[in-house]
């Protein structure tokens, strides 16, 4: 059995190999190009420069806070979609994934029209509590959470659907409340899915650009995250744009490496 498989692997048709190699090159060469152009010698110095440091710190803080928001709201949402007895669950599930395919800038516009100072909800927040979300770090967190949450929900929901509900039922028959069963039985069994979803969610939040710049604006130290800094740096200081890009690239690769067991090595 194994020998036939090995022989089949040796006879890969050229019609497939050629486009495959071109595809591989297409995806990898831009990344390699970035690394080649990077000013490696001054990289540490640039990295610890004030503006880059500010953007990096803000990015890490905001992405982490957004991930917390996603966990707190997203895990229960995933549970509702996987186990809840709600009408129109299929439609609901589809709607939850909309931000995945929606251009982030559209998400930002939507947030602005709802939570902006003149927005549907925002005008009341402003009038009653004096809270205005655009141009604040909280706005960045919201924009990132909006874009990243579907990644977490999908991962957790998939894990929940794969998990055997009979353990929960057994726990229930033994007298555990639904909340206790969820906490002590369900959650541990889907932990790998939650972890993978969290990492992916964090990485997506870290790279968020469109919704952030549309909804939260751009001010150093408050709303200028790494991707925004890259965009602005390109206008005047391409060198530092490359440094920022390399950092984001390394983080992304790091995240994928951390998820290696789950995705990169496949089902084997």
């Amino acid at each position: 059995m194994t020998s036939t498989r090995r022989r089949a692997r040796g006879r890969l048709p050229v019609v497939l190999v050629l486009p495959a190699v071109v595809g591989l090159a297409f995806l990898l060469i831009p990344l390699v190009g970035l690394l080649v152009r990077a000013p490696w010698r001054t990289l540490p110095e640039q990295l610890f420069s004030e503006s880059v440091g500010d953007a990096l710190r803000l990015s890490l803080v905001c992405a982490s806070l957004a991930t917390v928001v996603c966990l707190v709201l997203g895990v229960p949402l995933a549970w509702l979609l996987a186990r809840g007895d709600v009408p129109g669950r299929g439609v609901l599930r589809a709607l939850v994934t909309v931000p995945l395919v929606l251009p982030p800038v559209v998400g930002g516009v939507a947030l602005l029209f709802v939570l902006g100072r003149r927005g549907l909800v925002g005008q009341h927040l402003d009038a009653w509590f004096g809270i205005s979300l655009p141009f604040t770090t909280a706005g960045v967190v919201l924009a990132e959470a909006f874009v990243a949450m579907p990644f977490l929900v999908i991962s957790v929901e998939g894990a929940l659907r794969a998990a055997d509900p009979r353990y929960e039922e057994a726990a229930a028959t033994l007298g555990a409340s639904r909340w206790l069963a969820f906490r002590r039985v369900t959650l541990p069994s889907i932990l790998p899915g939650v972890v993978a979803g969290t990492v992916l969610c964090w990485a997506r939040a870290l790279g968020e650009f469109g919704a952030t710049i549309t909804f939260a604006g751009n001010f150093p130290g408050e709303t200028t995250t790494m991707p925004l800094a890259v965009y602005l740096a390109l206008e005047t200081d391409p060198e530092s744009a490359i440094v920022l890009s390399v950092v984001l690239l390394l983080v992304s690769v790091g995240v994928l490496a951390a998820l290696r067991d789950r995705w990169i090595s496949g089902p084997s």
């Binding site: 602005l112 604006g217 001010f219």
Partner: protein, 248 residues
Amino acid sequence: MRALALVALMVLTGCGATGSDGAATGRITVFAAASLTGTFTRLGEDFEAAHPGVEVVLSFGGSAGLAQQIGQGAPADVFASAAPANMAQVVDSGGTAAAPVTFARNRLEIAVPRGNPAGISGLADFGDAEAKIALCAEQVPCGAAAKRAFDAAGITARPDTLEQDVKAVLAKVRLGEVDAALVYRTDVRSAAGEVEGVAFPEADRTVNDYVIAPLADAPNDAGARAFIEHVRSEQGRAVLAEAGFDVP
């Protein structure tokens, strides 16, 4: 009969009523600063109407970004920059086919949402921590001009956001998300009805020259020169003046 043939010949060779524009044919690609969006769209349409068969393709963006794209071989025929500095970048690398000329000037104005709800009356209000303020980032021309104004007035601005281009700043005013912003006078006029302008004395320090030049690697050199001629014609000047530009 002969007269008819002559007319047909003139039409075929693109020699229309505005014969001074030369024999423009085909597609003319114009890279223009974002603040020229309204006027150049109009100028492009007028030019197409005067030259049947000619297609004017406009690409708007930040002047620095456009200069960079040209430097990297973007197939453009004309570059209209909101700042001489960005044009100089292209000139220095041998990217222009003729010396750039100044065809318009713009100056900053304070833009406030309709009705001026925060009661903004001058540049001094930009130093107020309470007011929500949007400005261009200093790296882009409108931001640099704003800095000159604040320096001249001796005011430390306290912006809430520094946007990447002037249209993004204007959008925040239109939406009422900020109380005041500094944009070009032309931007205020383009959003009349939603946005009101407040003039300020230091605006003289913010005058910005718009320069235009045909590009060395232009796929359509004749078209490029004809379009620039159109921009500088009486008709072109009228369009620019109507939009709020000072026309030299």
